[in-house]
Symmetry: C2
Subunit: 436 residues, 2 copies
């Protein structure tokens, strides 16, 4: 393959890399894309990372922003800062609109960027399973702006309830419904329950925030269905202890401005949050590649796209299969390991070393927290923990993986503070209609 033209001339980006080295373009700086970029630092390639945002987001803690526990800047790092010392990596803020596989070019708003190797790490968005009109009533939680919008909804509901005379309307304002009992849904439900029962408890005069009703709705038969059954049961018990109503085995059949219909029951609510499903990014359309119903691109064992051995797909946008033929789940550790794998593969390829083995995910475990002092953890596919020890472990691991030491320290301090005082730090209603 000739690297010369595509890496240096034909694309329309100001001052393209001047070298004749292979040009690796990474689209998306989530866990997968950022790991790949970091792993390619110092390799004999030029790397361009394209993201439509200027920061990497630590999504596992996004629910804490939505529930006023942390500030956005505490779980986000400017991509440029993370990659500052990688002299062969440059960062481009822009929105990708398509890929020309034949011409080896990525189209963004404003620029075309040529590539020799392409890594697509564009993640996933919510899926409303064909009910896209539900989104306006039940926002999902994937971005910082989602989180601040949900925070605004939750806090505004309490404010409005405080001055509301009609008991039925007040009741509706104090009903919070979370749809989907995966880790995000469980963590949100727990955090809202604690916000209502503790942080807000003494702040109001007309209402008692502790009377808020938090309902977690799940169509499946248990919460945290990716975990062993014993841990699902522990999580269920912890949620109940926090005062969360858990409805299992009932599908949501309607979502509108007044609330939701769960099975045959209508529950009035001003705050409904969607944590039920995701759909891969548009990358399959860009490549015209074979994808499953959730939009994930079927990749080869080396994570390349069939027919294009220089195009790789990783993370939530990839449908990669484990040795038993089951798809890997959409988890941060999977994306990170895939990013590292592809970086190593490219390094081997450009230096002419032996081919790399197929990608295999090494499962260190999974965790979810359910409020203060409670979490469940399933480690190395063998060990199961729940309760305080699992919770401390959860905190430790999340602090460790937060990108950037500064954030780690401040989040640790914020958590300690909240833990001791039962207060939460970021209870701002910003943006939206109250912004002027």
């Amino acid at each position: 393959m000739s690297h010369a033209q595509s890496a240096s001339e034909p694309h329309d980006l100001a001052s393209p890399p001047a070298s004749r080295r292979p040009h690796v373009v990474i689209v998306g700086a989530g866990f997968g894309g950022l790991t790949a970029a970091q792993r390619l630092a110092g390799a004999p390639v030029d790397v361009t990372v394209i993201d439509r945002r200027n920061y990497h987001l630590f999504q596992p803690l996004l629910y804490q922003v939505a529930t006023a526990g942390l500030s956005p800047a505490q779980i986000a790092m400017p991509i440029r800062s993370v990659l500052r010392d990688a002299a062969n990596v440059r960062v481009l803020m822009g929105r990708v609109s398509g890929v020309d596989v034949a011409g080896r070019t990525v189209h963004t708003d404003g620029h075309d960027v040529g590539y020799d190797y392409l890594i697509l790490a564009t993640g996933a968005r919510h899926s409303y399973f064909g009910h896209d009109d539900w989104e306006q009533y039940a926002p999902g939680l994937k971005k910082i702006d989602d989180a601040t919008a949900i925070r605004r909804r939750i806090l505004t509901a309490f404010e409005a309830a405080e001055t509301e005379r009609d008991p039925a309307v007040r009741r509706r304002l104090l009903n919070f419904i979370i749809i989907g009992a995966g880790p995000t849904g469980v963590e949100l439900a727990g955090a809202i329950a604690e916000l209502a029962r503790r942080a807000l408890a003494r702040d109001f005069r007309q209402i008692d925030p502790r009377a808020a009703r938090i309902v977690l709705v799940e169509a499946g038969s248990r919460v945290l269905s990716a975990f062993p059954e014993a841990l699902s049961e522990r999580a269920y018990t912890s949620l109940q202890r926090l005062g969360v109503e858990v409805r299992l085995g009932v599908p949501v059949t309607a979502v509108d401005a007044e609330g939701v219909v769960v099975g045959s029951e209508r529950i009035a609510s001003a705050t409904v949050i969607w944590a039920a499903g995701v759909r891969a990014s548009s990358a399959a359309k860009w490549l015209k590649a074979d994808a499953d119903r959730a939009g994930r691109i079927r990749v080869q064992p080396d994570l390349s796209v069939p027919g294009h051995d220089n195009v790789f797909v990783i993370g939530d946008t990839a449908l990669a299969l484990d040795p038993a033929g089951n798809p890997y789940p959409g988890l941060a550790p999977v994306a990170k390991q895939q990013g590292a794998y592809v970086a190593d593969l490219l390094r081997a390829r450009v230096t002419g070393r032996a081919a790399v083995r197929p990608f295999v995910y090494r499962d260190w475990g999974a965790m979810a927290t359910i409020g203060r002092n409670h979490a469940v953890a399933h480690l190395f596919s063998r060990y199961r923990f729940s309760g305080l020890f699992a919770w401390l472990l959860w905190g430790l691991v999340h602090i460790m993986f937060l990108a950037g030491f500064r954030n780690r320290l401040i989040v640790l301090m914020d958590w300690t503070w909240s833990y001791v005082t039962f207060q939460s730090g970021a209870r701002l209603i910003t943006g939206g209609s109250n912004s002027d």
Copy 2:
């Protein structure tokens, strides 16, 4: 005066105070309103604080949010939390649309609230001196949403310059113009200069952020005109040392999408910030009271409105005169002392104690910071400091006055961190057109 009806029945708010005690309504929870509310805790009155936001904002540090040094939640505290322990004070989130002085009622969106005593502490907004069309090109800095919008503009300008081919357009993107050299303008100019020269310096590949041009424009003859001349000169020197171009004595004659016209010179710029003037809130219209050109209500020596001895105006909305007949400036300490004064006056009045003396401002001093290690301070109208000592003093005083211990500690940590690393913490581009 009969407290009975107005305090308990005629107003249309859910569950009004059940007591027969005088009802004090405070509109606005800025420095003046919040101080009045805190000072009335435990007094034999019922207090209702109305604000359209759910938080008190520490405005003196807002420029650090605009320049990515701090997060919004670090300089804001939920009003309810601040007043949690004041059992006779309740908080209402709502937007006031008018006052019925005869009926002793405040109109808000949704509710009417009756009062026996009214304290208007509604602050000020930007004034474009008749050029309201400039606002879209040159946003001002009064609210959190202003600050995040300015942060977005500044950071987006660097991102766009990185990929821009046309040198003229790139030049325009790297020109930052601040109009008005009062404390806010000076602090903004210094902070943007440091952001460009230090925090961003190594993050880009195609541009050198240190080449950014920061221009501070002032129609008057010196910067920080409220300070003694010697301190203005020190501030001027510090700004120049930071690489800020200061243009004195030249008025801005045009602001548009391309930049500004300063005197007869056009400066192209994508980021123009307005720090030139303020105008009082609409309170004068609500009361149909006598106001000056800036909208400030002329008040009596006891801060009451002529003809209405139960209506008080404090802070930036009040035109109060010192013993020499000069208006007090729109500063946080003035507003706080006025809030405390009116609270004491009401306490004396309802308990039948002797009348309080006219309000006199006790001037402890004023300070402004100009980047790392540099500030000017004028204390007790006598002592003048500049340089490192003034800067340390500035930091100490601002930390001390930050509402809430938690914020104090975290801001102190963030500052220390930034000082040691030359980095800044909150470089997120959120909201706006990049939000989806």
